[in-house]
């Protein structure tokens, strides 16, 4: 099984999609945090994150999204989450994150949501 994998895909000049796969736990969350911080460092604050291949998430993983959303908002951007798996949804619901984040099912929908501002 893949432990953890991240791939970036530019969707437009302003919007970057991060594909995440595997386990997002207290061991792997730093890789995720680094990927998002790298984008922030490049001035990219409109980020979509594809969660359709994330098999497990703990609070450390969820914490990355919480911190990233706050930073994106501060800088006039946003984070849109795409197609979370059932285990991810369960944790997001538990933490009330499902009401805080914008979700999109397709890349065009994610781009549209991110271009619309926060």
């Amino acid at each position: 099984m893949r432990e953890f994998e991240i791939n970036l895909e530019p969707l437009s000049p302003e919007v970057t999609l991060i594909h995440v796969a595997g386990w997002l736990d207290a061991h792997t969350f730093e890789y995720m945090e680094q990927a998002v911080n790298n984008l922030f460092g490049e001035g990219k604050v409109r980020i979509a994150i594809d969660l359709s291949q994330v098999e497990y998430i703990s609070s450390a993983g969820a914490g990355v999204f919480i911190g990233s959303l706050a930073t994106a908002h501060e800088r006039g951007g946003n984070i849109v989450l795409m197609n979370p798996t059932e285990p991810v949804k369960e944790v997001f619901d538990m933490l009330g994150l499902s009401q805080v984040f914008t979700f999109a099912q397709t890349k065009p929908a994610a781009v549209a949501a991110l271009k619309a501002g926060k």
Binding site: D25, A60, A62
Partner: protein
């Protein structure tokens, strides 16, 4: 058929790369038990949060710590004990221990503190902590399979 009594243990070095090993161990023990499928992810998550907290806070800055996870389950209760010899931290009283934590304000502020403890208390039916100065800390997590009479 679930076993009438499941008892098992694992000891790991207190390193985050061992979290996956602990989760795999739990899945194995749960499969032999009567724990309903709807509770499997919850129990695995709660224990993962407990072990991660010990690695990050109890053994902060140390790489020689050990963590033991013990399972004891019957038809009524699935009990997990997590033992360590790091700094004591009362999970029952720490940030996030309160189920009424204002999560929305917490999240809007970008704060991640206490989420693990919040999850543990939210998904488990009992959470107990005991610690003796300079000795072992024991966190006990219980999920009821059948509610106590």
């Amino acid at each position: 058929m679930p076993e009438a009594h499941v008892s098992d243990r694992i000891e790991v070095d207190a390193k985050t790369q061992n979290l996956a090993k602990v989760r795999e161990f739990l899945h194995g023990a749960i499969k032999r038990s009567s724990l309903p499928a709807t509770d499997v992810n919850k129990v695995v998550l709660a224990v993962d949060e407990a072990v991660a907290n010990i690695i990050q806070h109890g053994y902060a800055g140390r790489d020689d710590g050990k963590i033991e996870v013990q399972i004891d389950a019957d038809h009524a209760r699935f009990t997990i004990k997590v033992l360590d010899s790091g700094l004591s931290y009362d999970t029952a009283k720490g940030a996030g221990a309160n189920a009424d934590l204002d999560l929305k304000a917490h999240i809007n502020a970008g704060s991640k503190r206490g989420l693990g403890l919040f999850i543990m208390r939210k998904v488990m039916d009992e959470v107990h902590y005991s610690s003796r100065e300079g000795q072992q800390n024991t966190l006990t997590l219980v999920k009821y399979i059948k509610p106590p009479a």
